[in-house]
């Protein structure tokens, strides 16, 4: 992880069209942006799309970055908003088939690898949460962000984050409890 000031310096160069600086930013943050996107979207392919969209938006809006937050926080905020947008679009249209370039065998292998790391039913339980609650528990409990940092990423007050985390956990526990009971 690079120092925040170095990131800000890189982003200032990106705003002037420096592609090398943008590559550095991507290298530093792509895994975490992908991780946040994956936990919110619940699907690797969609998370990859969201990650791509996040970096494209970041490149276009680099000149708007004012340095009030860390570059990472700014990027995760873009990522979360991108995921919200995609989830909304997803809701409006029927499920799409896998894209041609993706081998379904590879996809299922990746899903299996990922699922192996999760306790039974956790992925379904996470997917069952409303997106706002899901984002709050993902950032706070999965990614380990502090409440103020989570609040900054989500663009809401700390109190709202606390409430979303508590309620998100409660819903998650209920879902996990039901799964155990059945």
């Amino acid at each position: 992880m690079t120092a925040p000031s170095h990131d800000a310096e890189l982003l200032a160069r990106v705003a002037k069209g420096d592609h090398e600086a943008f590559t550095d930013i991507m290298r530093t943050h792509e895994n975490r942006v992908f991780s946040v996107s994956l936990r919110i979207m619940g699907d690797r392919e969609k998370a990859l799309d969201a990650t791509q969209e996040t970096f494209l938006t970041a490149f276009r809006k680099a000149h708007q970055f004012q340095g009030k937050a860390a570059v990472g926080t700014w990027l995760y905020r873009i990522a979360v908003n991108t995921c919200y947008d995609q989830l909304r679009k997803q809701k409006r249209r029927p499920a799409e088939p896998l894209p041609d370039h993706l081998d379904p065998a590879d996809q299922s292998a990746l899903d299996a690898v990922e699922a192996a790391g999760l306790r039974p039913g956790l992925r379904e339980a996470l997917d069952s949460l409303p997106p706002e609650f899901r984002a709050a528990v993902v950032l706070s409990d999965v990614e380990g962000m502090s409440l103020p940092e989570t609040a900054e990423v989500l663009g809401v007050p700390v109190g709202t984050v606390k409430s979303r985390v508590f309620r998100g956990r409660r819903l998650l526990a209920k879902h996990l409890g039901n799964q155990t009971a059945t």
Binding site: H19, T23, M26, E30, N31, F34, S35, L38, R39, R44, L48, T51, Q52, F55, L56, T57, F59, R60, L110, E114, G117, L118, R119, L122, A125, V137, V138, D141, V142, G144, K162, V165, F166, G168, R169, R170, L172, A173, K174, L176, G177
Partner: protein, 244 residues
């Protein structure tokens, strides 16, 4: 349950307390408190057990390739192109001049009409070649503009750069002087922007300058002095000019 109770239980679940005695006593104080603790603990343990995920090497390669190819295809302000109609009007004007000259030479020199027809055919075919290039350029979006078609248009661009016209229109748009008349539907405009490689833009107005142009700015932005305005030729859905 009080807000403070929930926060104390949460701090206990997350292991943030130096002294847990008060929180533990609270949990044991009622069934509701115990259930709250158990629910929070179950969810928290499950969430914190989720392993880190990273991109695989192939995903990383695809991501970087796709991001870069998208960035390369963004229209750039430095690569301004003359509007399609303007370039054609230059071509037509050139054709008239050449034909006029040939006619004058033909009348003065007394060449027979077959030579003139042959000369005209040669000129027409060379201009048709240029026209074909234009059509090809028109069929590609701004996102796929090649250096070749830019060079092809360069000779015409040099004759009368249209930059001033668009710059003036952009200035009028910024000062709110342009008419707010809209002739295209929202769907038509969105579809045209998509074709022009500007899916992340919104149309803020229309202007007629020989042809109809859509004025687009990035989504979520409000038109201000620093907002780039992209002019998109509405019939061909081609980016014609970006005012930055």
């Amino acid at each position: 349950m009080r807000k403070r109770d929930i926060e104390l239980i949460s701090a206990l679940v997350e292991g943030r307390l130096d002294d847990e005695s008060e929180a533990r006593a609270l949990v044991e104080s009622s069934r509701a408190h115990r259930e709250e603790y158990e629910a929070q603990k179950l969810a928290y343990d499950a969430l914190t057990s989720i392993p880190n995920v990273t991109l695989t090497e192939s995903e990383q390669a695809v991501l970087r390739r796709d991001v870069w190819s998208q960035l390369q295809s963004q229209p750039r302000a430095t690569k301004t192109k003359a509007p399609w109609a303007l370039r054609w009007s230059f071509a037509a004007a050139g054709l008239f001049v050449v034909v006029g000259l040939l006619l004058a030479v033909d009348l003065a020199g007394g060449n027979d009409s077959t030579d003139f027809v042959q000369s005209f055919a040669n000129i027409s075919s060379s201009l048709d070649g240029a026209g074909a290039g234009e059509t090809e350029a028109a069929e590609t979006t701004a996102a796929t503009s090649t250096e070749e078609d830019l060079e092809g248009a360069a000779a015409l661009d040099m004759a009368m750069p249209p930059v001033e016209v668009f710059a003036e229109l952009a200035a009028q748009a910024r000062s709110g002087e342009l008419s707010s008349e809209q002739t295209r539907t929202k769907e038509q405009k969105s579809s045209c922007l998509e074709t022009a490689g500007l899916g992340d833009h919104q149309v803020i107005g229309e202007v007629v300058e020989d042809e109809l142009y859509l004025l687009a700015i990035p989504d979520g932005e409000v038109l201000g002095p620093d907002t780039p305005i992209t002019f998109v030729q509405a019939d061909l859905c081609l980016v014609s000019y970006i005012d930055e």
